[in-house]
């Protein structure tokens, strides 16, 4: 079985400040990390791999620095890492590239990805399932493969008391939330050997996918940034006051 994990790098949230007055986000420290939900998606795939002979492939689209996220995923246990060097953040294009990649590597049975990116809040899941015509199971906290079906557990109640299980036949797309299993730490020795291995990450250029730079015209155009109005401070209430509401 072949599992593809699309991951992305985001700016470390602690390295940024939002200035509402200036209407700008200032990057104080340019430090990149793997999107946390993506790391949990990888963990879900590695857990499936622990019990079966699944082949876990991680893929990322981005500039050369993105290789760092892929190397980390290899150190955690991914079997193969693919970088498509293209500097685009347009989700429609990324989904198209990923769908083409799936075909290029000879098809995949399961795609697991983070249910939302920490920087944009967007999930690739529904778009990927549409593009590939795969079943879609979203917002999993747990994900297991049984035979030719994938089963997930989803928290269906915001208070966290109700969990439901859903099942779909493979091939399927699953998204994992940040409440999924915590990602494993890579072994230190594995980090050293992976990063020193020049072939740990394969680069597949656009031309190999039958695409060119001109195919990368973004569908959505960014016109600027705006910020929601600052929230007003609430009112402090006493226990007695709350009690009076209940009565």
């Amino acid at each position: 079985m072949r599992i593809l994990i699309p991951i992305k790098q985001i700016l470390h949230p602690a390295g940024m400040t939002v200035n509402r007055k200036a209407g700008k986000v200032f990057v104080n420290r340019e430090e990149y990390v793997t999107n946390p939900a993506g790391k949990r998606a990888l963990e879900a795939a590695l857990r499936i791999k622990d019990g079966t002979d699944a082949d876990v492939i991680v893929a990322a689209i981005g500039p050369t620095r993105t290789a760092d996220a892929l190397l980390e995923a290899r150190a955690m246990g991914a079997d193969r890492a693919i970088l498509i060097p293209a500097d685009t953040t347009d989700e429609a294009l990324i989904v198209r590239l990923l769908a083409t990649l799936c075909e290029h590597i000879g098809g995949v049975d399961l795609l697991i990805t983070g249910d939302s990116a920490l920087d944009t809040g967007i999930s690739l899941g529904p778009r990927l399932s549409e593009a590939l015509n795969f079943a879609y199971l979203g917002s999993a906290v747990q994900c297991v493969v049984e035979g030719s079906a994938v089963r997930i557990v989803r928290r269906d109640d915001p208070a966290g008391r109700l969990y439901n299980a859903y099942e779909a036949a493979l091939p399927a797309v699953v998204t994992v939330t940040r409440a999924g299993s915590a990602p494993r730490y890579p072994h230190g020795g594995k980090i050293i050997t992976t990063y020193r291995d020049a072939n740990a990450v394969e680069t597949i250029p656009l031309s190999d996918l039958g695409l060119s730079e001109s195919d990368l015209q973004p569908v959505a155009v960014e016109r600027g940034q705006s910020f929601p109005p600052e929230r007003e401070f609430g009112r402090q209430v006493s226990v007695e006051e709350i009690a009076s509401w209940i009565r």
Binding site: D68, L71, Y185, G188
Partner: protein, 388 residues
């Protein structure tokens, strides 16, 4: 000249920092209060390679060299000096003394278990009458048939109560004294005649257990001699030499943690109607800390580079330990001042940091001994040999 760390070391630091932030820091207060580091934490660190960072993979190590080891010690001490001290005594002096001079057979026997954390190591040199004067040791090893019998006592041994293997320096030839007549033995704690005292009650490092060790005719087979008979003192001095580098790295982590707390506090705390960050008195203290820490960082990582590249490093290693421990104490003292009463609260990490830092000026060779080491290296360069 390239001051960038290779990418694998950046990734290693990121993993270690994540582990420290998630798994160790939340326990640091409890470790100090209870005086115990759960063996499960050490086991999990062992599974990630933390307990054999500098050693080659053939012996079960991580293969990350002195550079990787310094990175880990900096990060560990930033989170919990108690945990850092257990690991530092285990790797930096315990396993290191076996790795430097032990036979291949001995290393094959113990190092994989030591590097994976199945066994914990200790280094036993200090005795009641032998501290800075390490050559004054009296623990005796006598040869009978194929075995040595160890008799005597060691004191203030870090990891004493939890160690499974202890590298002990003992006198094998009293006529020659320590220099020429001392030998290192790898002793297993389960052997008959070996026992430990009750854990010492210390000012700081409450989670790092320290005790005396009793040797009552402990039989040690010949194959557990580390290095050559009679050359044990050299092995131990070499070990201490290299251990000073990572100790410097650890103090760097402690100082860095104090600085980070101060920067955060200067932004949060308001006095006289504005953040205290706007007060020059605070700015000056923070700036001094940052400058000293940066100098220490440059020294520590350059010395790690000297070690990994097979250059002489004795003088620089002494400097790492000397400058590091004093910088950390100074920075933490300033941090307490900046935090005011909060710095003294037992519910806030600075009070613990203050207590934990003091020992660095004492153990693994007092700072006075470090000054002797540095001076003797300097004078040797102009042909003067200083005797302790």
């Amino acid at each position: 000249m390239d001051y960038d760390l290779p990418p694998e070391y950046n990734a290693l630091r990121r993993m270690i920092r994540e582990f420290c932030e998630e798994e160790i820091k939340p326990l640091a207060h409890h470790i100090d209060e209870s005086g115990v580091v759960e063996s499960d934490l050490l086991r999990r660190m062992g599974a990630l390679g933390f307990l054999g960072v500098p050693f080659p993979r053939e012996y079960g190590g991580m293969g990350a060299g002195e550079l990787g080891y310094c990175i880990m010690m900096e990060e560990l001490n930033r989170a919990s000096p108690s945990v850092a001290t257990i690991i530092g005594a285990h790797i930096g002096i315990g396993v290191m003394s076996m790795y430097l001079d032990g036979s291949k057979a001995l290393k094959d026997k113990y190092m994989p278990d030591l590097c994976s954390g199945k066994m914990i190591c200790a280094f036993a040199l200090t005795e009641s009458n032998a501290g800075s004067d390490a050559a004054a040791i009296q623990l005796r090893a006598t040869l009978e048939g194929d075995s040595y019998f160890l008799d005597g006592q060691k004191m203030w041994i870090t990891n004493g109560p939890i160690a499974d293997v202890i590298n002990v320096l003992a006198i094998t030839d009293p006529s020659l004294g320590a220099r020429g007549g001392a030998t290192v033995f790898a002793v297993e704690s389960k052997w008959e005649g070996y026992s430990t005292g009750k854990p010492e009650r210390k000012m700081g490092l409450h989670g790092s257990p320290t005790s005396l060790l009793n040797f009552d005719s402990v039989r040690v087979p010949k194959e557990n001699v580390v290095g050559q008979i009679g050359l044990g003192f050299v092995t131990f001095m070499k070990t201490l030499d290299i251990g000073r580098v990572s100790l410097g790295a650890a103090t760097l982590g402690g100082a860095q943690a104090a600085l980070e707390m101060c920067v955060r506090w200067a932004r949060t705390r308001q006095q006289f109607g504005r953040q205290i960050a706007h007060m020059q008195s605070i700015q000056f203290m923070i700036a001094d800390m940052a400058a000293e820490i940066e100098a220490l960082r440059a020294l520590v990582y350059r010395t790690a580079w000297l070690v990994d590249n097979g250059r002489p490093f004795t003088k620089e290693a002494g400097m790492c330990k000397l400058l590091g421990s004093e910088t950390a104490s100074r920075c933490i003292d300033r941090a307490v001042q900046i935090h005011g009463a909060l710095g003294l609260s037992r519910d806030f990490p600075l009070e613990r940091a203050f207590r934990d830092a003091r020992i660095s000026e004492i153990f693994e060779g007092t700072n006075e001994i470090q000054r002797l080491v540095i001076a003797s290296e300097l004078m040797q360069e102009v042909g003067v040999r200083l005797r302790p």
